[in-house]
Amino acid sequence: MNDTVRSLLIVFILLIASLSVAGMLTWVERRLLGLWQDRYGPNRVGPFGLLQVVADAIKLFFKEDWIPPYADKVVFVLAPAVIMLSVLMSFTVVPFSSSLGVVDLNIGLLFFLGMSSMGVYSVVLGGWASNNKYSLLGGLRASAQMLSYEVFMGLSVSGVVLLAGSFDLRTIVVQQKAVWYCVPQALGLFVFMVAGVAETRRVPFDLPEADSELIAGFHSEYSSMKFGMFFVGEYLGITLVSAIVATLFFGGWLGPFLPPPIWLAIKTFVIVCFFILLRATLPRLRYDQLMGFGWKVMLPLALLNLLVTGAIRLAMG
């Protein structure tokens, strides 16, 4: 019984923590963007503008929740729920210490890949159900982009799996006691980061919602908290990908002095800041550049990484 209470407690703490972190990230991103672009960002509401998140949430909740009359209503409502579900489900396999975590799955990494491929449906269906040509174009772009980048997201982590000999995220972290995998798998890290940015549809890969050409892409027709769910889902996705990068390549919870979950949080936060720095600096790619870059540069790189890692692993025995 104690075990049940403990795991329920972990589930709820993780749920509340990840959702509030995602909410706070909206403020962190705007402040950091302001810093890097030599302006202030939101600093009026509360100390340092910290209450901006609360103000935004209240504004979103009280907006009219409008469903276009020509939309496919069921699918339209379902779409934002899918992204929240798939991202929150992925958080269950992230290990916070050698014993702390929601589930200890021996195929944890595959579970993460599966759930991230489920996330595609949210943008595709959202774009289709809106029955609006800009939304549809956004949805089309999203599905092609996420399908392509998923391929070498899977390939890039294969190097890590080869070295650790397991899909279990906990085993992968324990195996990094001597040296973090960002050293032997530097190429894999690069490919995974690029794929991660594309999976979360962030600049420079934010073509599905390119606001200069598609209004807001797949979520043009969404208002109120349905839009809020897409928004929070995006930030949850960034947090998730950062946590997975920290786990796979930067030793997860490993670190001296501080308790393990704190180390994971610090590493995750640094990687999240890197995501925001990318947005602050890079321009948006053109669509054919995006697909060409994916299939002609990233895929061969990921395959090369896998080939060399496999050969070395085989030679070492």
Binding site: V75, L110, S143, A144
Partner: protein, 182 residues
């Protein structure tokens, strides 16, 4: 675990029936996704977690997205639903229903025989076992599948390649044919 198995089986059957009988193409595909997820859960309860994960990643995550991709471009709406209603008359259900009934009878017969052959060494299958089997005794199958995929890739490249300028010029010299095709 037994309850999980039966519940996900029921979900799989219901979702598949809904996918087959549905009139709206996208809704049918959504039911198909649910069906794949239910089948993944069945694999998981049977002790094959890797297959379950691959079912989600490949079937539910990649292949159905491509289906939806195509259906999205077709821009089907209420008109298509009406057309589907006219096409799916009672008579067309007879053949498939008969065939399915035969399979169902066979399944019931096998279940009542009590001498179901268990898979050798049935138990949780680890990822390593799966890889070693695929690239050991079943190497030929993997290579054959890769050849089929390569053929598909070459075919897609041929259909999608950009025409050279001189080829389009050649086509212009046969205006009757080209006009008829357009």
């Amino acid at each position: 675990m037994n309850a999980v198995y039966y519940i996900s089986s029921v979900v799989a059957v219901v979702a598949t029936v809904a996918a087959v009988t549905g009139l709206n193409a996208v809704h049918s595909l959504l039911y198909l996704i649910v069906s794949f997820l239910a089948v993944a859960l069945i694999f998981f309860t049977l002790g094959a977690p890797v297959i379950a994960a691959l079912e989600v990643i490949i079937y539910a995550g990649a292949i159905i997205v491509l289906f939806i991709f195509v259906v999205m471009i077709l821009n089907l709406g209420d008109v298509a639903v009406e057309q589907e209603k006219r096409w799916t008359v009672g008579k067309m259900w007879v053949g498939p229903a008969l065939l399915a009934l035969v399979l169902m009878a066979e399944l019931v017969y096998v279940l009542f025989q009590q001498t179901v052959h268990h898979l050798p060494g049935a138990g949780p299958i680890q990822p390593q076992d799966l890889g070693a089997t695929l690239f050991g005794p079943y190497m030929l199958g993997v290579e054959l599948a890769s050849m089929v995929l390569l053929a598909g890739l070459v075919g897609a490249y041929h259909l999608g390649r950009r025409r050279q300028p001189d080829e389009t010029a050649q086509e212009r010299q046969e205006p009757v044919d080209a006009g008829a095709r357009r």
